[in-house]
Every structure is written in structure tokens, then in C-alpha cells.
């Protein structure tokens, strides 16, 4: 099949198409995902290709979407729900937290609820309130859910397929600011594209990836901040600092072995995400890395992220978001120890 250079949004569209083609039980549900193709056109043309019974425009009710998806999953379907924007997932919070997360355990393993919830998330696109948030930590705290976020088209293509094939419920956070960023994608990879109808390995849902090797500082990001991290690493290299960049990919679980190996090598670590730092994913990473690498750390793990404020209006969002300067500043601070 070979590689194609396509944007992240298109990679997701292709993953959905692969899953819809390979498994008649896969169906998409959400607001405006049918004829419109979603407000980001991520589901463009899929309703035409697979029919409106498989690419379903639902009523405007997020709890209803996730709740009926649970019922469909109990019936043997594999619903992939789209939440239109990050800020609109909260009406579904109860269904996700008390129902979706727990049904496998409550049934003592008898039932599985393979529901995927796709959430365009993150900021930087000049959007209005509630359209730029990063609520991933609010899901990672709950056992039974998997929480992942791809950073590039190739990962998006495989990760989404694995998410759909996985019997566990998956919160799939898509960095909407990267939707139009292109990358090379192997369109023959992933459980559906390769024609394995039943996947047994879910590597990308469980593992972080070292995307640039380095020796002085470990810089961990995921989703939209991986690009920032790579830029920082590049400009730091020019100044003689060697940064190892890790794309977390999975937020629940977190691939601590990979992180630990890196930090034991570098002795310094910075975590960067768009979500507020306070009670964010960086806290869990810093706490556990410190536990595991106590004698290796030359400096405390630094965290860079959003502030403990509502996501600000667009004109000033770039000062809220963890940009190059702030990440650099954190790199400098851990190097200064």
C-alpha cells in the first residue's frame, strides 16, 4: 500500500474508513458527522460511503450518545462516538465514569463495552470558549478507561484502529490544532488495514515513543505538545543541549518503563501539556518518576502547561499555552540545578 503524506484529520478519516470497511459492527455516532462530515470534516464522505445507519447523526445530547453507544456495544457493536469539542464532553461524564468505565468489572469480565470516544481537544486555533480545552486528566483518574492521544498522522492512523479493535473503552483525544499538519502514513498498518479482524496487541495504546534521542534532559509531551517539544529540542541542540523527546501517546496507562529508562539516562525531566498543570497529567508523571528515579534525578521534574484559569479568550491564548519560551525556560531551570 505504501506511505502517503496526509494530514492528521485525513489519517483519522482513513482509520475510520478502514474499520468501517473491515468490520460491519463498527459504527460512528455523533453530532453533524453525517452529511456535513463533522465540523472538522474528519468524517467527510463516510456517510455517503457507508450509509447513514453506520455514520449516524444523533440528536444533540452527549449523554445520549455515549449511553446508547454503551447499549449498542453490549449488543455486539463497536460504536465510535464523536464529541464535537472538548468542552462538550461533560454532559456525558456520568455515562463515561459510572457506566462505561465499570461495566466490564461489574460483570466480572462477562461483558465488554468497546466504545471509542473521539474528542478533538486542545487550543491554539483561535476558537471561542469551551472549544480549546484539555480534559484528559479527568478521565485518566477513572479505572476502566483507556486514555490516549496521537501526535502525528501515522500514529493517529494506527492508534485509532487499535482503539476501535480494543475491547476496553478508549477516550481518544485528537489534537485539533494538528488536524491539518501532514505526515507520512503507512496506510497498510493497523489491525483493520492489515485485515486482522481481531487484534490482540494494542501496542500504541500502551506505549510511549522516544521520538528524538538525547542525553541531557528528557522532555515529555503528548498530542499537541509533541511538536513544541521537538522544536524546543531542535533549538536547544543549536545551543549545545541534547534533549530526548518522548511522545507519551497513552495517558492511561502511562508507559513508565520507557520514561524511567530515559530519565535514568538524562537525570532531568520536563513534562509539557496544554491542560492546566494543577492536578494535570504532569503531576502523576512527576510523582511517579521521582519515586522511581529518585537517585538519578539531578533536578525536580518540571511541569509546563496551562494555568489554573479558565481557557482564556483567543487573543491571549498563546500566553496560556505552553509555548517554546516557557518550555525553554523549564529546560533551563532543570539544567540550572
Amino acid at each position: 500500500m505504501a506511505e502517503q503524506r496526509i494530514p492528521l484529520a485525513k489519517a483519522i478519516n482513513a482509520a475510520l474508513e478502514a474499520a468501517l470497511s473491515a468490520d460491519p459492527k463498527v459504527l460512528l455516532m455523533g453530532e453533524d458527522i453525517g452529511p456535513l462530515g463533522g465540523v472538522f470534516r474528519v468524517t467527510a464522505d463516510l456517510a455517503t460511503k457507508f450509509g447513514e445507519d453506520r455514520v449516524v447523526d444523533t440528536p444533540l445530547a452527549e449523554s445520549g450518545i455515549v449511553g446508547t453507544a454503551i447499549g449498542l456495544a453490549l449488543r455486539g457493536y463497536r460504536p465510535v462516538c464523536e464529541i464535537q469539542f472538548d468542552g462538550f464532553i461533560f454532559p456525558a461524564f456520568d455515562q463515561i465514569t459510572t457506566q462505561l468505565a465499570k461495566l466490564h468489572a461489574r460483570s466480572r469480565g462477562r461483558l465488554t463495552v468497546p466504545v471509542v470516544i473521539r474528542v478533538p481537544y486542545g487550543g491554539g486555533i483561535g476558537a471561542v470558549e469551551h472549544h480549546s480545552e484539555s480534559p484528559e486528566a479527568l478521565f485518566a483518574h477513572t479505572a476502566g478507561l483507556r486514555v490516549v492521544s496521537p501526535a502525528n498522522p501515522a500514529d493517529a492512523f494506527v492508534m485509532l484502529q487499535e482503539a476501535i479493535a480494543c475491547p476496553d473503552p478508549v477516550l481518544f483525544f485528537e489534537p485539533k490544532g494538528q488536524y491539518w499538519a501532514k505526515g507520512d502514513v503507512d496506510l497498510s498498518a493497523g489491525p483493520y488495514a492489515t485485515g486482522q479482524s481481531v487484534a490482540t496487541q494494542f501496542d500504541t495504546l500502551n506505549t510511549a515513543k522516544v521520538v528524538r534521542e538525547g542525553t541531557d534532559v528528557t522532555l515529555i509531551g503528548y498530542g499537541p505538545t509533541v511538536v513544541t517539544a521537538l522544536k524546543v529540542a531542535q533549538s536547544a541542540a543549536a545551543e549545545g543541549t541534547s534533549i530526548e523527546v518522548i511522545d507519551l501517546r497513552a495517558i492511561s496507562p502511562i508507559d513508565f518503563p520507557t520514561l524511567i529508562e530515559s530519565v535514568q539516562k538524562t537525570g532531568r525531566c520536563v513534562v509539557v501539556h496544554e491542560a492546566p498543570v494543577f492536578f494535570g497529567a504532569g503531576a502523576e508523571i512527576a510523582a511517579r518518576l521521582t519515586q522511581e528515579c529518585f537517585y538519578h534525578l539531578e533536578a525536580p521534574v518540571a511541569r509546563v502547561g496551562g494555568f489554573h484559569t479558565p481557557y482564556p479568550p483567543a487573543k491571549i491564548e498563546h500566553d496560556y499555552l505552553p509555548g517554546l519560551e516557557r518550555v525553554m525556560d523549564a529546560i533551563d531551570s532543570v539544567l540550572a540545578y
Binding site: 445530547a61 446508547t68 449498542l72 449488543r75 461489574r106 476496553d168 496507562p253
Partner: protein
């Protein structure tokens, strides 16, 4: 009305009733349609229903006793709701699916779910977990009304499977979801009605209006008649005397048939009464009077069936003794089983959190195993 101020908006609204509280037939012609639907109900059926209702009541008494003696932490009493549950569940067929709430002991029983397994939850040994596929009865949830959406989604699945309106009565399937008057206030119930209506999903919304949501009466819960809730969403609805097992059966049979035939959802309000407490932790004397309880005990659903059987000449003491004997054995077995239910292994909490390996879960499970070993070895002792 004046003497029953606790009955919200009840009397005026048409309510299907086929058997009067004294066991005689209600001859009101406005219900001819429903009467005709259940012409096939013979004495044998009535006796089956009586048996089921008697067993359900015995279960209630026994589980309550088990709670009183400390064998169960809690129990949700269903006394008074026997006709609503037994009448409706007998309108389901093997291929249909049930989504119960936490008080549907009679429903589970008729569907063959071993009720002793339902008690696992109340003994604190697991969160439920009977074999859902075997009995076509899904797990209940204690989160009020969340399951109404699952039922609707499930029905949408049956639809997609092509198992609606095939013309084959043994194939066509539908879903029945049970919930209470209080549950109608949650947004999820409304969303479920709407999704069901838009999709014309084969699901019957069976609301047991037992007059109370813990201590909150209908007058503070909704501005009725509650039955009209369905119509607001474009879902046909019907109100039935929930203590009249025949009437309940008639309306539910019609609704399930319609659903199976592709006619979409129905909302049923079964007007009944929770004679017991909300749960064994509850104390109804704090919020309701004995006049109300008396009013309803005169309308007891089990007594009505006995009266009906008598009126039909189908009641005899031998039958009564047989059923009582069966109930005694059932209760004895239940007691023994519950008392024998041991404490699960603590490590069970780590099982089935995920269907595929999850590192945090595994790390913690391993840590815990080590910790338990150390404790056992006396190393962790202080």
C-alpha cells in the same frame, strides 16, 4: 380526591384496569380493546401469576429478614409491586431483553435469573454479575436512569441486526426497561425517550410509579399526569393500574408486540405503591402517613389475584399450600446460600478492570500481592 391528597394527579387520568380491587371484572367498555388482547389468559395462567407473585413476595420477606439479621448490608423492598412486575415480564418472550433497575426482583425471577445471585450485591461480595446472556437480563445499575439509555442503544442494535418486523414471532425482539417515578426526572430518561422516538427503536419504557422516590412524593417530582411524558417525545403512552396484573399484562403485551413489529417505543406508567421502605435503611414513618399505606393495602396486588382466582373458582387450598411450600423451600435455600457466601479474595478487585493488560492495573496488583504476602509473613506487622 379529597381523601387521597398524596395521590398526585391520579384520579382524572384514564387508567387501564381490567380487574377491580375486589377481584371482580371491571366491565367498563372503554377497556374492551385491552380485554380482548388477553382473552387467552386462562385459569392456569392466573395460577402461574399467583405463584410468581407469591414467590416474589416471599423473596422480599426473606431478604429483608436476612438484612435484619446482618447477613445482607441492604435490601431494596418491592412489596406491593408484584402485579406490575409479574404482569409485565410475562409479556416478554425468550428473545426479548430486559434492563431492570434495582427493585425488579420479580422480573429477574420470572426470567430465570437466580435471585440468590442478585443478593451478591447486597451482601457486598460483588457488584452483581449474573449471566446476562443466558437470561437476557442485563445488569442493573444503582445510578438512577443511566440504564434507560443502554436499553435504547441495545434496542437500536436489535434493529440493526434485522430482528424487528421480520414477520416471524419467534425472531422479532424488543427491549423492556424498568425504572421508577423518580427516575423520570433525570435528563438521561428524557434523552432515552428522545433517542428511542427518533430511531423508532423497539424498546418499552416501563415506569413503576410507586408514588415515592425514597421520601419524595410525586407532587414534588413532576407535574403530571406522568404518563404524558412519553407523548412529549412522540412516544405513545398508556397508564395502567399497576396493581392489576391482567391490565398490566395487556398493555405491556401490546407495547412489546408493537415494538417487535417495528412500531417503535411505548411509555407505560404503571400506578402502584411501594408498601415497604425504600431500602432496609429507610424509615418511611418520617415522610408518609398510615392512611396512605392503608389505602394501598386495600389495593394489594397479591390479594387481588387470590380474589380473582376465587371468583373464577380456580383457587383452592391445595394450590395455596403447594405454593406456600414451594416458597418455604425457596426461602430456605436462599438463606442457606446467602449465609454460605464467603468473602471474596481481596485480589479480586484487580480482576476485569480492563479486558486487555493495563500497566497501572498490573503494577498495583503485583504490589498488592507482595504486600499481602509480606503481611502474611509478619513483615508488614506493626
Amino acid at each position: 380526591m379529597a381523601e387521597t391528597p398524596w395521590l398526585p394527579h391520579n384520579e382524572a387520568e384514564p387508567t387501564v384496569q381490567l380487574v377491580l380491587p375486589d377481584g371482580s371484572e371491571n366491565t367498563d367498555t372503554q377497556w374492551d380493546h385491552y380485554r380482548n388482547l388477553v382473552k387467552d389468559v386462562d385459569a392456569a395462567t392466573w395460577r402461574t401469576w399467583y405463584r410468581d407473585m407469591a414467590l416474589m413476595r416471599r423473596f422480599d420477606e426473606e431478604a429483608t429478614a436476612l438484612q435484619r439479621t446482618g447477613e445482607l448490608a441492604l435490601f431494596t423492598q418491592a412489596r406491593g409491586q408484584e402485579a406490575a412486575q409479574i404482569g409485565s415480564v410475562h409479556a416478554t418472550r425468550a428473545q426479548d431483553w430486559i434492563f431492570p433497575a434495582y427493585r425488579e426482583h420479580g422480573v429477574l425471577q420470572v426470567r430465570g435469573v437466580p435471585l440468590k445471585e442478585e443478593l451478591h450485591l447486597f451482601r457486598g461480595v460483588d457488584h452483581g454479575g449474573w449471566d446476562t446472556e443466558k437470561h437476557h437480563v442485563h445488569l442493573n445499575t444503582l445510578v438512577i436512569s443511566a440504564h434507560t439509555l443502554h436499553a435504547t442503544g441495545y434496542a437500536m442494535g436489535i434493529q440493526r441486526d434485522g430482528l424487528v418486523a421480520t414477520g416471524d414471532p419467534d425472531t422479532d425482539a424488543a427491549v423492556m426497561v424498568y425504572f421508577g417515578d423518580g427516575a423520570t426526572s433525570e435528563g438521561d430518561t428524557s434523552e432515552a425517550l428522545n433517542f428511542a422516538a427518533v430511531n423508532q427503536a423497539p424498546v418499552v419504557f416501563f415506569c413503576q410509579n410507586n408514588q415515592w422516590a425514597i421520601s419524595v412524593p410525586g407532587t414534588r417530582q413532576y407535574r403530571g399526569p406522568l404518563v404524558r411524558r412519553g407523548a412529549g417525545f412522540g412516544v405513545p403512552c398508556v397508564r395502567v393500574d399497576g396493581n392489576d396484573v391482567l391490565a398490566v399484562h395487556a398493555v405491556t403485551r401490546e407495547a412489546m408486540e408493537r415494538a417487535r413489529n417495528g412500531g417503535g417505543p411505548t411509555f407505560i406508567e404503571a400506578v402502584t405503591f411501594r408498601q415497604g421502605a425504600h431500602t432496609t435503611s429507610d424509615d418511611p414513618t418520617r415522610y408518609r402517613g398510615t392512611d396512605e399505606e392503608q389505602y394501598w393495602s386495600q389495593r394489594d396486588p397479591v390479594e387481588r389475584v387470590v380474589a380473582r382466582l376465587r371468583a373464577m373458582g380456580a383457587w383452592d387450598e391445595r394450590f395455596h399450600t403447594e405454593v406456600t411450600h414451594e416458597a418455604d423451600e425457596f426461602a430456605a435455600e436462599l438463606r442457606t446460600y446467602v449465609r454460605s457466601l464467603g468473602r471474596p479474595a481481596s485480589s479480586a478487585m484487580f480482576d476485569h478492570v480492563y479486558a486487555t493488560p493495563h500497566a497501572i492495573n498490573q503494577t498495583e496488583r503485583d504490589w498488592f500481592a507482595g504486600f499481602e504476602r509480606d503481611l502474611a509473613d509478619g513483615e508488614g506487622g506493626h
